[in-house]
């Protein structure tokens, strides 16, 4: 399997969230200037939605009917937008702090959103306990909350299982929890474990935690869970932890495999996604050192199959339903303004996927 760039587009601000129509002819971007943009992946023509978030827009999902897009933001709000008119028609405050990430159930009925502020909880800057439920599920039709779960903030990532019956969420400390849906009365997870391999505590320069699990994906058969992020660093400000993915048997909390030695560089990996064939997955992010920042891996043995260096930070990776295209969204480093004008720094790239 091989990736070849087909289109490379710029957007005004860094892209933090991405949704695709099933046929891949429409892309939707949640951007760091708070805007939501409808983007033609072929031409790169972008059309902003009427309403923006009051902070970074952090995620967006497209409902299966293709008519409604829901966005989340660092303002803690969820916005329902009409794709045709670009108008916002529902606003729901989901959290007091950021929405870090959104996930849509496969049937489009439920939207999961995760939050949590990292605040000092101890001498070593262990994260303080949550002050509101860190994981919430909303009904996409009514906008009503249908479940709320407790987790350790900040919770950075979430995903639904392919059958929609389980929800996984992971945080900065590498704690992973999985709940059955509909939620049980006690709200307890059906599985939870910790992986210490994604979290840094500074020993050389600074005493606090950083990092975490930035993306999650159940395997197509639902039996395993992929996590990605960056390995521990002595100096958390270096950003040079090992590019890391791990695959877990979530029912046993047992690690099955992880990225192989010699196949990784360093840098934060923010995106992980399965190819529709179920035989490959992609991990992508930012490269600090190495030769790639997006790579395809074999599901069979976890070995690296193909890699590319996009020279930018990738925040999201989505395959089209037919598996023939891959959309990568992200950001360059933000350039300084020139004569008071800020150059664009958002990126959206389309790759052809060749077997």
């Amino acid at each position: 399997m091989k990736l070849t760039v087909a289109h490379d587009h710029q957007l005004p601000a860094g892209v933090l969230g991405l949704a695709l129509s099933p046929d891949g002819t429409e892309a939707f971007a949640a951007c760091a200037d708070g805007t939501l943009q409808a983007v033609d992946p072929t031409t790169g023509k972008a059309e902003p939605f009427a309403e923006k978030h009051h902070s970074f827009a952090s995620g967006c999902v497209l409902l299966p009917d293709g008519k409604t897009m829901i966005s989340g933001g660092y303002d803690g709000w969820l916005l329902w937008h009409d794709v045709a008119t670009k108008r916002c028609w529902r606003r729901v405050q989901a959290h007091q702090f950021w929405n870090w990430q959104l996930a849509l159930s496969p049937d489009g009925r439920h939207l999961a959103t995760v939050t949590g502020q990292y605040l000092p909880g101890g001498w070593k800057y262990e994260p303080a306990q949550e002050t509101e439920p860190s994981v919430k599920v909303f009904d996409t039709l009514t906008g009503e909350p249908v479940a709320a779960f407790s987790h350790g903030p900040p919770v950075l990532s979430c995903c639904f299982s392919p059958d929609g019956l389980h929800l996984a969420a992971a945080n900065m400390m590498g704690d992973i929890k999985i709940w059955k849906l509909p939620a049980s009365a006690d709200g307890q997870p059906v599985a939870q474990w910790n992986s210490p391999d994604f979290t840094s505590w500074g020993t050389t320069k600074t005493h606090h935690y950083c990092g975490g699990i930035y993306s999650l994906a159940f395997s197509p058969d639902g039996s395993t869970l992929l996590c990605c992020g960056m390995g521990p660093m002595g100096d958390p400000m270096a950003g040079n932890g090992k590019m890391t993915w791990q695959r877990w048997n979530w029912q046993k909390g047992e690690r099955l495999d992880q990225i192989k030695d010699g196949q990784h560089g360093t840098g934060l990996m923010e995106a992980i996604a399965w190819h529709p064939d179920g035989q490959h997955f992609i991990m992508a992010g930012r490269q600090a050192q190495g030769t790639w920042n997006a790579a395809l891996f074999s599901a069979a043995d976890g070995s690296l199959v193909h890699s590319i260096d996009t020279k930018k930070r990738i925040t999201h990776a989505r395959f089209t339903a037919d598996g023939k295209s891959l959309i990568l969204a992200g950001a360059n480093g933000q350039p300084a303004p020139k004569n008071g004008v800020w150059p664009p720094w958002g990126r959206l790239q389309v790759y052809q996927v060749e077997s």
Partner: protein
């Protein structure tokens, strides 16, 4: 050294406090304390002298935000601008002045704080910038300028206090440029007796362990013998090294004698809870406690945790609220205890951070336009001076550099900022060179 300038500088203490020390010193001698004159220690057994000295004592707490905080996520937010970041701004008690939404506590006491939004310095690298903002002047050949703590130790330190005159609370033993700076020469030409005593974290445990493991009578015997031998050695050899070693030992001895002041667990539980659980917050509370007990200068640092080239907003969301709470409680506590008028509180790093984001979710070093806070002794309250442009790229009003800042600090503490030094083997120099102006908007 020429005497302090006879003309009063704006903001300088109007009292004759510096003369009080000398008068009380003579009074102590006249009171029959001649036997103590050799060490001055006897003066502090004179209750009149001790009380007056404590009353006249000036203090300074430097919250050293090493690594450099972002001005956008603290004192100079630019919400809605392309580089403004994800946090909003909130109104403060000062009409028209907004702070980052991460600082609700400080917003509520903005009328007690002073903000400089127009710091403009020249060093973009940590080591050089730390030196610049700690010494208040660029390097100059021929001598090493003392850091602020050392200069204040010399200018404000008590004669024979058991509490060290320059205390650095920093729990982090290792790490990058600040560690390199810490290993260098803090006191410069002033000499080792004005170097910092470093405590905090594991360092404090060493002090407590030393205090606990040696019986008092044993300590006294050792001390008598040590004094005899080292004084003889110093006298016979005129040894600078011996003097430095003795100075270091004296500081260590004082520190051990007051070990309880450095024990976080001895601080009131309610205060500890108010300040917050992190080491920076706990050490800031300890700084207040030390000042209450007479310490002239306490610097609180926490490694280089503000250097967020990576995860800027993910880490500032934690660091700024902690700093917000610390400044709020520290300023209020000092005010309630009647100490704010005699204690200068400064919160700053070595520069600011870029108005734009890098590819690693971070902000990089930016000395061109940044902010800091100072309040207390010798200063007005509720002043915001200087301004940056709409994106925070450059200073557009009242640029100030490190020399303006140090002239302000010395003036506020009643110390002649322009004192001239003409010492053997060194070029003629001044506490602040070139008669650089203090930030007059801030001076009381």
């Amino acid at each position: 050294m020429k005497p302090d300038s006879p003309s009063l500088i704006p903001g300088q203490c109007a009292t004759n406090e510096h003369q009080i020390h000398r008068r009380l010193f003579l009074k102590g001698l006249g009171g029959g304390a001649l036997a103590s004159a050799a060490s001055f220690a006897g003066l502090f057994h004179n209750p009149v002298f001790a009380a007056e000295t404590k009353k006249a004592q000036k203090h300074c707490i430097l919250l050293w935000l090493c690594g450099a905080p972002s001005q956008f996520e603290t004192w100079d937010p630019k919400p809605g601008r392309p580089g403004g970041g994800p946090f909003g701004s909130i109104p403060t008690k000062l009409p028209g002045v907004h702070f980052s939404s991460l600082m609700p506590h400080c917003a509520g006491i903005a009328d007690k704080l002073n903000i400089v939004r127009s710091m403009k310095t020249t060093q973009p690298e940590h080591f050089q910038a730390i030196s610049l903002l700690q010494r208040g002047s660029p390097e100059r050949a021929g001598f090493t300028r003392p850091t602020l703590g050392s200069a204040l130790s010399q200018a404000m330190g008590q004669l024979d206090s058991p509490i060290p005159n320059f205390i650095l609370l920093d729990p982090i033993p290792g790490g990058n440029e600040f560690e390199s700076f810490k290993a260098g020469n803090w006191a410069g030409w002033l000499g080792a007796e004005h170097a910092p005593v470093r405590l905090g974290g594991d360092y404090t445990q060493l002090v407590n362990a030393a205090a606990a493991t040696i019986p008092q009578h044993d300590l006294e015997s050792r001390e008598t013998l040590r004094r005899f031998l080292t004084a003889k050695y110093e006298r016979d050899r005129s040894s600078t090294i011996a003097r430095s070693q003795n100075a270091a030992f004296e500081r260590m001895k004082g520190m051990t004698a007051s070990a309880d002041l450095f024990d976080v667990n001895q601080l009131p539980a309610k205060d500890r809870e108010r300040y917050g659980p992190g080491s920076f917050a706990q050490h800031s509370l300890m700084a207040r406690h030390l000042v209450e007990n007479g310490a002239p200068f306490v610097m609180v640092a926490n490694g280089m945790n503000w250097d967020n080239h990576v995860f800027q907003h993910e880490i500032h969301q934690m660091l700024v609220p902690e700093m917000d709470r610390v400044v709020y409680h520290l300023v209020n506590d000092l005010e309630e205890r009647g100490l704010l008028d005699s204690t200068l509180v400064i919160a700053m790093g070595e520069f600011g951070r870029t108005p734009w984001m890098n590819q690693a979710r971070g902000r990089d070093h930016y000395p061109n336009a940044w902010s800091m806070m100072m309040t207390g002794c010798g200063l007005k309250r509720g002043v915001v001076t200087g301004a940056t442009d709409i994106d925070g790229v450059d200073v557009i009003e009242k640029p100030y550099n490190e020399q303006n800042l140090f002239a302000t600090i010395f003036t506020a503490l009643g110390i002649d900022p322009y004192a001239e030094y003409d010492l053997p083997g060194m070029p003629t120099f001044h506490r602040v060179e070139s008669k650089m102006e203090p930030i007059r908007d801030l001076l009381a």
